[in-house]
């Protein structure tokens, strides 16, 4: 269970403090998915970063299965991100020096478990995202959609409880966006993860079980 309670986030701006999130509450159970829409600059990505243990909130708490990641400290926080959260960035952030397979396996380098089973899982995921034949390729040799699919596989390789996607189709054409969305939902169903997708694409947002709108720093269910 993801429990976000009273989360606020302020940034210091040139003309004083800027409130991006104000008293945000959010709950999500395993197997549930949520899309968050809102105009640019509404704080969607910030919320995702706060939820994904990348950016501590100014106020409020984030708990995943009762654990507050921000209370864990440096090493615990890193381990939490590695094991509990899978992130898909708009810019995918693949490592250019690594192959497709290696990019998927990068999080496993600091995970717990057996390398061979991670490798099997990575291969399965890449099969599932349709890149089973592109294993030795480098990111520079992939299309935008393919890169995003690699990023999705990477987000899922450690079997996280929570998958967070920040504009996963932001740089993709319509057809490719649909394919990526299909993939995300399919994998979500199979893995029974909690899935939060931030997007300003309403068509994409509607494909998720629940949709909220972030405005004035607060979440408004649609």
């Amino acid at each position: 269970m993801l429990d976000v309670s009273g989360v606020s986030k302020h940034y210091a701006g040139p003309s004083g403090s800027v409130a991006v999130l104000s008293d945000v509450d959010l709950r999500l159970a395993a197997g549930e998915s949520l899309s968050i829409v809102g105009p640019s600059g509404s704080g969607k990505s910030t919320l995702l970063h706060v939820v994904g243990a990348l950016d501590p909130p100014s106020a409020g708490t984030v708990r995943l299965d009762g654990i507050d990641p921000y209370a864990l400290g440096g090493r615990g926080l890193a381990a939490f991100r590695n094991r509990q959260v899978g992130f898909v960035f708009q810019d995918h952030h693949l490592l250019p020096q690594c192959t497709v397979l290696e990019n998927v396996l990068v999080p496993t380098l600091v995970a717990e478990g057996d390398g061979a089973s991670y490798r099997r899982r990575a291969l399965e995921l890449l099969e599932q995202v349709g890149l089973g034949r592109r294993l030795p390729h480098r990111p520079g040799e992939l299309s935008g959609g393919e890169k995003q699919r690699v990023a999705i596989a990477r987000a899922l390789v450690c079997q996280p409880r929570l998958v967070l996607c920040d504009e996963p189709t932001g740089n993709l054409d319509h057809d490719t966006s649909d394919a990526v969305a299909d993939l995300l939902l399919d994998l979500h169903r199979r893995q029974q993860t909690m899935l939060i997708v931030v997007t300003h694409n309403l068509d994409l947002a509607r494909r998720f079980a629940a949709t909220s709108r972030l405005a004035d720093g607060r979440l408004h269910p649609l």
Partner: protein, 1125 residues
Amino acid sequence: MTRLVLRNLRHYWRTNLAVVAGVAVAVAVLAGALLVGTSVRASLRALLAARLGSTDTVVASDGYFREDLAAALAADGVPGSPIIHLRGVLAHARESRRTREVQVYGVDERFWRFHGLTRAGPEGRSAFVGADLAAALDVRPGDDLLLRVETADWVPRESLYGRRDEAARSIRLTCDAILPPQDLGGFALRPAQGRVLTVFVPLARLQRDLGQPARVNTVLLGPAGRAAGAGWIRDALARSIELSDIGVSVRTLPSGRAAMVESDRILIGDPIARAALEAAAGAGLAASGVFSYLANAIRANGREIPYSVIAAADLGQGALAGVTPVDTGVRLVPPAPDESIWLNEWAWRDLGVAPGDAVEVDYYLWQENGRLSTQTARFRLAGVVPIGGDVGPALAPEVPGVSEARDIRAWDPPFPMDVRRIRDADEDYWHRHRATPKAFVTLARGQALWRSRFGQLTSVRVAQPVSGAAAADAAVDAALGAFREALRKTLDPETSGFSITPVRARGLAGSEGATDFGEYFVYFSFFLVAGALLLSGLFFRLGVEQRVREIGVLLAVGFPPAVVRRLFVVEGVVLAGAGSLLGAAGAVGYGGLLIAGLRTWWVGAVGTTQLFLQVSGGDLAAGVAGGMAASLLAVFLSLRGLRHATVPAMLAGILESRSAGAARARAFAWSGAAASAGAAGLLVGAAAGAVPGVAAFFGSGALLLASMLALIAAWLRRTRTDAFAGPGWPSLARFAAGSLAYRPGRSLLCIALIALAAFVIVSVEAFRKDAGQADHSPASGTGGFPLLAEAALPVLADPNSEAGRDALGLDAAELPGLARVRFVPFRERPGEDASCLNLYAPQEPRILGAAPAFVREARFSFTTSLARSAEERRNPWLLLEPALPGGAIAAIADATTIQYVLHRSVGDELIVRGDDGTDVRIRLVGALRDSVLQGVLIVGEASFLRAFPGREGFGFFLLEVPVADAPSLVRPLEEHLADWGVAIEQTSDRLAAYHRVENTYLSTFQSLGTLGLALGTLGLAAVVLRNVLERRKELALLRAVGFGARTIRFVIVAETAILTLAGVACGSAGALVAIVPAVLDRGGSPPLAAAGAMVAAVLAAGCLAALVAALAVRRMPLLATLRSE
């Protein structure tokens, strides 16, 4: 376009600054190294000028000549100064300190005037002492000094008539002043950068004490005017010289119809004899050579005549045509010429011998070991000659201590004599006929019996020919006068003991240096230069890589590739130009630092602190040109790397397509394989003896290094099929290694930078020589001789014989260890030190003559020789004995002397000046391995005496003593042999001194190699930081997916460590192969400690840089970095 270039330069200023810094360092190091060479040469020239004063040319003689000759030579406005120049030993009269190799100058006010100084004196018994000598002996004004110099006898001491007991004499002096270098306290006629021990004594005092009034042995001449040609001094000398200047006299006999050409040396050298015969023929006079000798006994029929003059001359011929035998009434077939002896009437009657009877003659013969032996020759009486007329005392030379004696018993001869054998009849003969020869043999037989290296005649008799009408007295007088003048003109001063040495020109040639320090420092700085250029290239490449998308955009918007290339080339030229200008300024600082280093830390390599920096525009320009060229090459190579990339790939930030990468990987793999094969081939060649060992191993080591770098380049570009997976350090390390492959060129440059420096440091370390305990086996560098001795004055006695030790004052009772000392003497032709201790290139190296006994001992080891037979290979010293075709003389020298000082190889020849002024060709036939004999050329004794017959006695000794006794014998032996200025040194110390110089060079090389390594490490650090900055988004992503700070730190450090270790491993492995011969040669172990220390240092520095980079990463805000572009 210009504005675009300017904008680019400004926008990427950080990267550009690094490029400029790299070029600046390279230019500074290159030009700085060249400045060192120029500075050392300029310093040597300045030192030479300070030491020579106004001296340009030196006219010297091995005898003494009229000091007026100086005035004759100094005509035509060329300044000149007559002096006496000797080697001597100076002792502090009260203290027990003494020093050898003192340059003694007998001078008067003309000397100071010649040098433009207003000083006068010294006068009376005062002396001026040079500052170095004063410091060595702790002499102060007013101190009493005892100077010992060689006496000025003309008569060769290594001949029957030479006085060996008076070889040197002492002169008591008082120090009047200490002369600093600027007042000619360091006056020296032979270039050397070390200290110079000089003492100036009054010319008149020296002339009086040496018995040479108004005579000198040296004239200093100032620079001749432009009009004067090279032969001007030679012509002036020939014009001005008198016969007395070369110790020759023409004595008209009382008859007035004949004259004797004689020499103050008693023996007439061959050139003078030839000149006399030639001049006589020119003057229409008959001439006969006469070789008079001493017969210890003339024996026949059981009777003997003691101590008689016997003459070898062809009676009845030439100027002795008037000598006709007495009719003895006996007719018989005359004995063969070689068997014939003619007695004078007195001796014939005294011996009661008849023609045809056997006559024996005992005589002394000089042995080259310093002893006189008694020999006997057998003859048959061929005839009897009358006393009187041509048979008179004039046929015998004037022998000091003999000729002027009233009685035979009053003789003071230089040879042993038993006066008890002298009879009254002999004294009666002496009173009536003085030295009139009692017996005659043919000239050829006499010369065969008594041959000496100093000459084969004691006189040349010239006379009016017997045939034809007797000329009037006046005509004979005129003919003899003409003969005198013709002889004077015919004699070549330079074959008669004079030498003309253009000391300034030769010193200037020598100051070009035995060692080109510029060249050496370019070598030494090579890795520093290479490192700086690699770094510069690396940064330029980083800049290009950083801007690969920009290049893609430019190409995409229609820029022709050539224009894009030009854009970057222009930027490169601007950066290289700026770097070069900065580097030129830096070169002055770097050169100054190196010169300061040579004056202080590395003074062991140069032996002088009088070096200064000389800034030369040419050197700076050469450094700038070299640095610019190399930088532009780096620019070119960086841009060349882009030709493999397509525009879309560049837009995607990719420099090299997969196929291009694979092709290059293949090319690198093949290159690596080829280099490996080449390395193996060289080793096989070395094993088969086809390639010299050192060259083969060094070549194969370098090829191995190249091969490893090529294989790493191929590996970095390989298509990876395996992938890391799962947690753990091995996976993380593989992840780190994979990151290195992303920019393979960058990684390879880092590895190469470190590998090259490691190669130098490890390989140089192997050549370091032990400066401590020396080996004393016969094949070692000491030859098994724990001590060596050098004498300032020639030692004429044999220090191994009882008589010789007596003569030398070596008393076994006072020197308990003496019985266990064996002296191995070497003859010496003084010359310039050709060891690594002398910076000047020797023009006339010191030459030693090795006795046959030493040659047969097969001491020392050889690196190479011209040995052919098995016996010669076993003992290459034997190569010194046979005469070489074409008249060259075989010589052996230390390998260091041959290679680094003389810049020759075994088999090469060099020319030195023989005693008769002619060129002597010296052929190098063997090179000694790391020996105590460095700095000299060693020739066989027979060859030595042929080329340098005037060099008497021994100047150098190797001493065989029990090793344990050696240290305790040094001081007592020196004290006992102090009169000869003998300095004893432990061979281990001498060898250590040579090794210190070589090790200092190696330290210099290593210091600069280490600096190169530091630069490499700095570059590595810069690359690591650069990589981290470039990959900050990647590292942020790693943090986002759960990498902790420690893990990221590990990844960064692992990448650095892999680069460092790969570099060190490649460099060390190549170096270890390269040094195999050096390690085997020295029997030591490879320099693992040094290599280990270096690995640790580089690794530590690299890891530190990585940690700094990791800390920088930690400070980067994660989200901002993820979002950043």
